[in-house]
């Protein structure tokens, strides 16, 4: 059987490409890491892959706002063959393929207009900006999955414990109409919550003050998924800060981290007919 192929973009300050590749490999897929310029220069084509991934990092040092400079590049810079990258993405999605963006990658997707895309015109509708704490923070949070969100990435997951590591993760929505669209279409697929799954705006459970307590978004087809927390940082039980007590309570606990499920889900959905 043909293996699922994941393309992981790097370059310009992206820095989570290796754990992202490891996530796909552990999930049974093939993963290749390429510099964005290799796509622009025609060395590799996104169409040879099934999932396109934008990992976390600090592209251009977050100058001009997180994700801004790299999303400008992807939106406006012409590729070597004269085409626009966005047109390639359009074709990629039309082929029924999937896009994942984590943290900085989510910030690109939002600023490129791919998420949430309520209006279906790829105009920027939300932004991710300075946390209310005015600080970068690395802490573990819980995210509640919206059961009505239609995306293979989150199938069978109810509450996801996962680390956030960002200074600009607060979702701000352009206006009430867009907000209504997000809620009505269930595009807000992940919300910050407590250990029991109750959605909350209380800091630090909601680490940044995001509107709708939103930690992740999908587009209306569920093909594009972006989130602030890092599922690829929870591939192993031993990534969890409380693995000691978890193992003591349940000596037979799985050594896989819960974040791995996100990748297993997408690989499985692309494998099964």
């Amino acid at each position: 059987m043909k293996k699922v192929k994941a393309l992981i973009i790097t370059g310009f300050g992206i820095n989570c490409e290796e754990e992202m590749a490891a996530a796909y490999r552990l999930a049974g897929a093939e993963a290749e890491i390429y510099h964005l310029n290799d796509i622009f220069n025609g060395i590799v084509s996104i169409h040879d892959f099934d999932v396109l991934n934008f990992p976390g990092g600090f592209a251009f040092g977050d100058d001009l706002g997180s994700g801004k400079v790299l999303s400008n590049k992807m939106k406006f810079k012409k590729m070597n063959d004269g085409c626009l990258f966005m047109d390639e993405i359009r074709k990629f999605l039309a082929d029924g393929k999937f896009i994942l963006g984590v943290c900085n990658g989510f910030q690109f997707l939002v600023k490129m207009g791919l998420l949430p895309d309520v209006a279906g015109n790829w105009q920027q509708e939300v932004t991710l900006t300075r946390n209310n704490s005015a600080k970068f923070e690395d802490r573990w949070v819980y995210c509640k999955v919206n059961p009505k969100s239609n995306t293979p990435f989150l199938k069978g997951i109810y509450v996801l414990p996962v680390p956030v590591r960002h200074g600009e993760g607060k979702l701000i929505i352009k206006d009430e109409e867009i907000k209504k669209g997000i809620v009505e279409k269930d595009l807000n697929c992940l919300s910050y919550c407590d250990a029991d799954g109750n959605i909350t705006d209380k800091y630090p459970l909601n680490p940044n003050g995001a509107e709708l307590n939103c930690a992740g978004l999908i587009n209306s087809t569920g093909q594009v998924f972006g989130l602030m927390p890092h599922p690829e940082a929870f591939l192993s039980l031993y990534n969890h800060p409380n693995w000691g007590q978890m193992k003591r309570r349940n000596p037979n606990i799985s050594e896989d981290g819960d974040g791995l499920k996100v990748f297993k889900n997408i690989v499985e959905s692309l494998t099964s007919p």
Partner: protein, 995 residues
Amino acid sequence: MKNQIQLVLKENIRDVEGEKIRQEAANFLQIDTGIVKTGKIFNVMYDLSEKEIELFANLGLKDEIIHDVFINSFYQNSKFKTFILIARLPGVTDDEGVSAQKTLIDILDLDLDVNTQHIYTDDIYLFEKDLTDSQLKELAEKMLGNKLIQHFEFGKFTGRIDYIPEVKITSDEQVKIIDLNITDDELMRLSKDMLLSLNLEEMQAIQAHFADEKVKKYRSEKGLSLDPTDCELEVLAQTWSEHCKHKEFSATIKYTNKETGEEKTIDSLFKTYIRKSTEIIRERLEKAGNNWLLKIFTDNAGVVKINDESVFVWKVETHNSPSAIDPYGGAITGILGNNRDPLGTGIGGGKLLFNTNVLCFGPPNYDKELLPGQLHPRRIMEGVRHGIEDGGNKSGIPTVNGSIIFDDRYSGKPLVYCGTGGVMPYTLNGMNSWLKPIAAGDLIIMAGGRVGKDGIHGATFSSAEIDEHSPQSAVQIGSPITQKLLGDFMQEAVKIGLIKCSTDNGAGGLSSSIGELATISGGAIVNLEKVPLKYANLKPWEIYISESQERMTFVVTNDKKDELYNLAKEREVELSDIGIFTDNGFIDVRFDEQSVAFLDMEFLHEGVPKKFMEAVWEKPKLTEPQIPSNLDYNETLEKLMGSLNICSRENVIRQYDHEVKGKTTIKSLMGPDGKAPQDAAVMRLNFDSFAGIAVSNGIIPRYSDIDAYEMSAGAFDEAIRQIIAVGGKLPDPEDKSNRFWTVNDNFCVPDSLYDPKTNPDGKLKLAKLVQMNEALFDMSTFYNIPMTSGKDSMKNDFKAGKIKISVPPTILYSMVAKVDDVRRNVTSDFKASGDLIYQIGQTYNELGASEFYRLFDELGANVPKVRKADSKRIYEKVIKANDQNLIESNHDISDGGLAVTLTESAFGGGFGAEIYLDKLSDLDLKAILFAESHSRFVCSIKPENKTEFEKLFGKDAMLLGEVINEHRLKVKFQNSDVINIEMNKLRTAWEKGLL
């Protein structure tokens, strides 16, 4: 033509930055600013049309959800009465401007120069309150900016900003000849005027060299001046600087110990203690056929073998002086510079795995009057923390552990230790990755950032005391994004064999990097006109010794040059081919074919006169204090938990990304609420196996007030026991599994050169340094734990007029040890109620220099001593217990003693503890609870393992009590409750100590 674009947040968007400034101004400066509105200004110097500027502003810069944009006009609102503008001084790194340039060419599809500065960014702050000029000045200088690197404007905003920090240098003569036929006084004046930091003997050695007939002969044959050029003097000063040559660690020292009557002459502390101890260990390893020490002391970082596929490379350094005058810039260049050490070891291009940092500051509540040029400790702390945050986070390197130490004596010069570890493949294209082969004919290629005036005299500056006239050019701001691109590029280029080997450009710039590499081939020719500059008209010597950051020097063979350049173009990294290695024994520096420096390498590297220093040890007369006998132990413990050296670092830790790369398995804070402080960090090496490394650090400067030997030995023990606590194993020369240990030693001491007037206690200070080295040797050879690299920083004094603030003699041991299986590690937090709690190791009457005594402002006399044989026996038992899965939690006992350790393990796991101390020993209760005796742990075990555990440990472990669900710490001694307090109270005190 200049265009200006301003971005401000829309009225309905919360200005979190403004809110933070308002709060901090109120808290720290007692200034009520009212509402603060922040804004960003882009001064665009490119020649662009109105349409282009509009597109750039709206598409390139503005986030349409949150920003309003103003083009060639500024946001004004009568609600705001006053303003501050913070711009950069000419030549100061402006990454945001550069990023704006890059997005400009992407959006408009223009072909413009983006390698030099054409867009300058400013920050503007509008204040609701009508603040006075002196309030605004205070806000600008003490909170928002640093006048060494920034330009301020403030007052009532007129709607105009004219300031543009373009660099304009007029050029005069390129190369100056310096007359050395001068008197000794004039030699010293020359050293001072040129900021050479060379002493009379060294100046005389240079004078004699140029007067030497042989030297005269080849100089006249070559048509060179007989006197040295400015560049030659600068190169000698840089190469001979304390920072680069470690003259005091190489000095001949006459040591007198008046306590024991011992007298000895030490020919170099480095050779006698540091290198020697590692050589002894290497011999033992070789004898057993298990040598994992691949490279020691000879490259940018030491290298040890992990297995047949990979090697571990790491380095820890300090960046103290720059951090004292610009904390953010000092720390970020410190950590980025440190990253380049493992990156530039051997062939280079290693994958950087983690950062670590240890910081020593004055107390944040420091209330003495600040001396000229001295920054407030709180400001230094926040700036340094921010620099480490950006340096690590933006490079995608996790900051996995660290430590912060407070002492009044760090309030002049802070200590900023930065460390970085990385992994290289064992072989690269068939060659051992840690080797550095260079032959005549190989090309010298510079890569990365451009060269400006930044950091000129950095190497000599760090070897001098700080005073109010310290040069501005010593301040630099790092650019993590430039370095990230460079590092990624190197990894790719090295993998496909395009780079023969490499080194970093740090202190001393090209002069240092090329100077050191040229010793391998035997010489080099450098063409300075080929070095790309940030701005025109630098003098040749400035180009050669500039410390502009984010640069590496590559050694490249001619046949690989084109391919390397092609890859660099694709990865947007700038390369320049600046010279060639030779084997004629000379460093030959030219500018447009004019000779700038022509120096005999032997004189350059070996010509520095050996220093002679005197050390005299006299034991201080110290006594144990009287502590009130009616001590309230609840209150004392609460105070101790909130004291500066014990309380929580969570606010700092959470601002560092400590888990990027997805490999960190023991982080600084663990447990159900992420509140349990851990002893050592542990990381996996890759995703295919569970093998990993543990990283620890030992540092206890306050013990040196009683006994510098025990301070150093204790710090070494502390670093070992942290690794043992998490489940590490001691090294064994007979072990076949490459279970390496590797240490970086970092000495930071005050000026220890005796001078009757300026440094009357210099001999005592030097004696302490000798003793610190003796302890290093004793501990290292006893445990077979080798130094593989390190650094010394010798002049940690802050001077203003007649006042001098000197740091206490400080040594940091940073250790890394291989861990077989991270799944078997142990964390510090209690795991379940009902588990039994033990103290492992023996407590002694050792409260000297303890945190407990510090509560009473006392020093005491009985400093904790390391008892090596006992410690080793105990550690071996802990290792055995872990092999048998007997230990559920383990936490090393250090600052604050047993009581603090118990408290941390209890609240860390979300439990309480019930403790009976009677069996422990016949010591005084204060010593039992608070002494900091070494080689001890608080551990917990399952009740069913009691018999086996006690059988294994015998008298080396004592049952203390058990873990309880009730959130209280209850301690009974001689049938009475000495401590009975809610855990929450202790945890709250601990959490609030640094806020």
